[in-house]
């Protein structure tokens, strides 16, 4: 067997493969959340958006036989949920977190409701680009099957970084998130900027959901997200609200997710559930390390989560 031929080398390879395959949802959701939080709002509802995106992408791909149309519709579903969240959370005295939790329940509920008929059927999947043809090892070949959607996500990260740095819009978003009073003194509509940021962020999260159901793991089930949407929110804090660091953090989380399966593939079956829990442990560890009651987080948008 080829696995045996690789031996323990299968573990790092498995983790690398899992990183390339499993980071995309983290990446899209964290970039979406990064954009939202830069404008000073929090959208916990992206977990629901992720599920909604996964379901709608799968359904549309099955019905129209076009996976890319599925991706687009997943994004649109994200826009719809994002609009609801934005409308509610931008009302005076409304708490982002409360609305976000409601939107997790709403988004997943709607996804499960409409997704029931699509659990059985098989929908066409997104294509994969074969970067592993040079290798004779089938494991290497399969590890380097990369979805174009992931590459798009990888491209968005530096683009967003540049956007925040070098465009007037990017600066305005940061001003709104950091010091709404200063933004207001410049005559900027805080409402509009936050609205657009939340909606665009949700669009990205919806697209991230389509990756789940149309590439990896590539089916639609109700347990497909496994809390990745919520972890991505934590990841933005870890990434200090920097899009490029969101990319690195997503890769780290994707890799952590692959530890359990990779060890299993070389025969380490004990502690399987413990290893599978590594992304959650990582999230918890990050929260503990980065949070302190005595200081505010460096890089955090100044008015994050406050209603204005």
């Amino acid at each position: 067997m080829a696995t045996e031929a690789l031996g323990w080398w299968g573990v790092p390879l498995g983790i690398a493969a899992g990183t390339l395959r499993g980071s995309a949802p983290f990446l899209f959701v964290s970039l979406g959340e990064c954009l939202t939080e830069k404008s000073g709002k929090i959208n916990l509802g992206l977990e629901g958006t992720l599920l909604m995106g996964a379901m709608s992408a799968y359904a549309i791909s099955y019905v129209t036989q076009s996976p890319w149309l599925g991706v687009l519709v997943a994004g649109l579903a994200g826009i719809v949920l994002g609009s609801i969240h934005a409308f509610l959370s931008l009302q005076p005295k409304v708490n982002d977190i409360a609305v976000g939790i409601a939107m997790i329940i709403f988004g997943s509920g709607v996804a499960f409701f409409f997704g029931k008929p699509f659990i059985q059927p098989v929908a066409p999947q997104l294509p994969a680009l074969e970067f592993g043809a040079w290798s004779s090892q089938p494991q290497v070949q399969s590890a380097l099957e990369i979805c174009p959607l992931f590459l798009i996500g990888v491209a968005i990260a530096p683009l967003m970084q540049w956007f925040f740095q070098s465009t007037r819009w990017g600066l305005l978003i940061r001003a709104v998130g950091d010091s709404p009073d200063a933004a207001r003194a410049m005559g900027i509509s805080i409402f509009k900027i936050r609205l657009l940021c939340i909606i665009t962020g949700s669009f990205l999260a919806g697209v991230g959901g389509s990756y789940l159901s149309l590439f990896y793991p590539g089916t639609w089930t109700e347990r497909i997200s496994g809390g990745q949407g919520l972890m991505a929110v934590a990841l933005v804090i870890f990434a200090r609200w920097q899009p490029m660091q969101c990319l690195y953090a997503s890769l780290l989380f994707g890799g952590a997710q692959a530890i359990g399966p990779a060890l299993q593939s070389v025969g380490v079956t004990s502690y399987y559930y413990l290893f599978n829990a590594s992304p959650y442990i990582l999230t918890l560890a990050i929260m503990i390390v980065t949070c302190s009651p005595k200081r505010t987080l460096r890089g955090a948008p100044g008015t994050l989560g406050s209603s204005h």
Binding site: S166, R174, A175, D178, S179, A183, A185, G187, G302
Partner: protein, 583 residues
């Protein structure tokens, strides 16, 4: 003194710099070629219109673009060599029935440093807000170069070349200085070419009166540098009339002297006018050319600073020498020290020292008034006494025992307080009037059994009695206190804090702020009544009249220190106002 001398020596140096600054627009040919073309067209239209009458905001806007994009703008430079003259004529601003400004006129001559002086609430801020277009005046006009203009927003004011530096900072803390400057421009393009912007910003910085590193996040700048950035922002926006709203209130005296000295040098070169709101005589005499004084919304005086003495200005600002209005006071029976402060220090929220070692003893049956301009440490002092802030060193003694403002100690010594902003500092807005009235006593008999079982019937009954006795206007005792008017919130707190029979010490901070005349009289009466019962009262107020009327002794706080102390009947009014102003 030494600072002033420094400034004088440096002024030549800055003069040359400022000249460079004006020429900088003409010589700055690094702008892109297409912008250069665009700039010639508005330049032409200016020539046709003769320039001097350029009062249409749009046209001025063109002019700025012409300047900014730097193509052939020598004409523009010469036109704007002198800042416009700003006049306000008979401006009145009414809020409801209250006149915040009552036909005030003043004129800011080109190239002068003009101070707008007055006590808190004299209408200084209202006046500049009318100029900047935040408020529409009820009547009266703003004239620029003798032309009536309609300024409806700060953006309009900016088009006329008027820029304002606010008391609070308006820069985005997480962004760098360069990002803040670029963002502040009203017309910057959607894509930012950082290489080009950096070149232009460094060129601007070289000609600017003060230098700030461009790549540092604003959050890391010291207060003085932040204030400089606010001023630089206005210069960067090509403002020719700079309005400064108490620009030094957040600065140390040294920083203040530096900033104002450099601005004065800019003004002396003749391309900038400054209108500065202040209540510090020292700054006015050191830096301003002319002064306009407001008192209670009316013009109280005007003149050249060099022709006026501090005494003259103090009298204009505070009115004629005022005799303390007497309220019926009985002589205290026995003098026992109640509150003692020993070398007390405390910090502001930002970690700077606010209270710098104060000593004070207050005896029973005595009102000690603390006068001072807000921001001189009185807020922090009251917060320490109320248990809201930790003292960094020093001691507070009550009845000779160390006092840490715990609930048990407050009860044992019977200490009560009327803090400023009572809804925030002394009430739970969403709890009912009855519950708020019981905050001091709810866990003691008769309002509670065994310290934990509350007896709501008694709480409501006692509240009902207090509502009647202190005439609190509330629909019922179950109404949330946040729904009451400001005066009635104040009365609720007063009822709770003064109703105790055994009260020994009362700490009151601006207890009458924003209340109408009747409420003020009522609260004054209650405070004096408490004093006559033998209560020791510490009264912090920004209203000197109130202090002269109520206190037995008056202390002036300035820069966190007590700088003047006197028995009120012997108090020297001029000395009080001068020490308040930091002399």
């Amino acid at each position: 003194m030494s600072n002033q001398i420094d400034t004088a020596q440096d002024s030549n140096h800055f003069q040359t710099k400022a000249n460079l600054h004006t020429q900088g627009f003409a010589g700055d040919g690094s702008g892109t070629a297409d912008k250069g073309e665009a700039a010639t067209a508005p330049g032409g239209s200016l020539r046709e219109n003769g320039g001097v009458d350029c009062i249409d905001p749009n046209r001025l806007d063109f002019l700025e673009q012409a300047q900014r994009s730097a193509g052939g703008s020598s004409l523009a430079t010469s036109l704007l060599a002198q800042p416009p003259e700003l006049e306000v004529v008979n401006i009145t601003k009414q809020f409801g029935t209250m006149f915040a400004l009552d036909s005030v006129s003043m004129s800011l001559k080109p190239g002068t440093f003009h101070a707008l002086l007055g006590e808190n609430g004299a209408g200084k801020s209202t006046l500049v807000k009318c100029i900047m277009g935040f408020y529409a005046p009820t009547s009266g006009e703003v004239l620029i170069d003798k032309q009536i203009c309609q300024i409806a927003s700060p953006r309009d004011a900016h088009r006329y070349g008027i820029g304002m530096v606010y008391q609070h900072f308006t820069s985005v803390p997480a962004m760098t200085v360069a990002e803040n400057l670029v963002l502040s421009r009203f017309d910057s393009s959607n894509l930012i070419n950082w290489k080009l912007e950096h070149e232009q910003l460094s060129a601007f910085m070289q000609t600017a009166p003060f230098q700030i590193p461009l790549d540092v996040p604003v959050a890391q700048l010291a207060a003085g540098q932040k204030q400089k950035l606010e001023i630089l922002k206005q210069l960067y926006l090509k403002s020719r009339i700079l309005i400064l709203d108490e620009p030094t209130s957040v600065l140390t005296p040294k920083e203040a002297d530096e900033v104002l000295g450099l601005l004065q040098a800019e003004v002396q070169t003749g391309w900038l006018s400054v209108l500065m709101i202040s209540h510090k005589f020292r700054e006015v005499t050191a830096f301003a050319d002319e002064v306009t004084v407001l008192r209670k919304g009316k013009l109280a005086g005007h003149g050249l600073v060099k022709e006026l003495s501090i005494q003259d200005m103090a009298e204009m600002m505070m009115g004629e020498k005022r005799e303390p209005q007497q309220v019926e006071k009985v002589a205290p029976s026995a003098l026992a020290p109640i509150l003692q402060l020993k070398d007390l220090h405390a910090n502001k929220d930002n970690g700077l020292e606010a209270v710098a070692g104060v000593n004070l003893t207050i005896y029973s049956g005595e009102i000690v008034g603390i006068a001072g301009i807000s921001g001189n440490g009185q807020r922090e002092l009251v917060e320490v006494l109320a248990g809201q802030r930790q003292a960094t060193s020093g001691q507070v003694l009550v009845n000779g025992e160390i006092y840490r403002a715990t609930r048990a100690e407050m009860f044992r010594h019977q200490i009560f307080s009327l803090p400023e902003e009572p809804l925030r500092n002394a009430c739970v807005p969403n709890m009912s009037v009855a519950e708020n009235l019981a905050l001091r006593t709810f866990d003691r008999p008769p309002q509670a059994k065994g310290g934990w079982l509350l007896i709501h019937r008694v709480i409501r009954q006692m509240a009902q009695a207090l509502v009647t006795r202190f005439s609190i206007k509330t629909p019922s005792v179950d109404t949330p206190v946040g729904n009451l008017s400001g005066g009635n919130v104040q009365r609720t707190v007063l009822a709770r804090e003064l109703s105790s029979e055994r009260i020994k010490l009362l700490i009151a901070a601006n207890p009458c702020f924003g209340l109408d005349f009747a409420a003020v009289e009522y609260i004054h009466g209650q405070i004096v009544a408490a004093r006559n019962r033998g209560v020791a009262v510490l009264l912090v107020s920004e209203d000197l009249d109130e202090l002269l009327k109520l206190s037995d002794r008056i202390v002036v706080i300035s820069g966190g220190r007590f700088v003047y102390e006197s028995v009120t009947t012997n108090a020297d009014f001029a000395a009080i106002s001068q020490s308040m102003a930091g002399h």
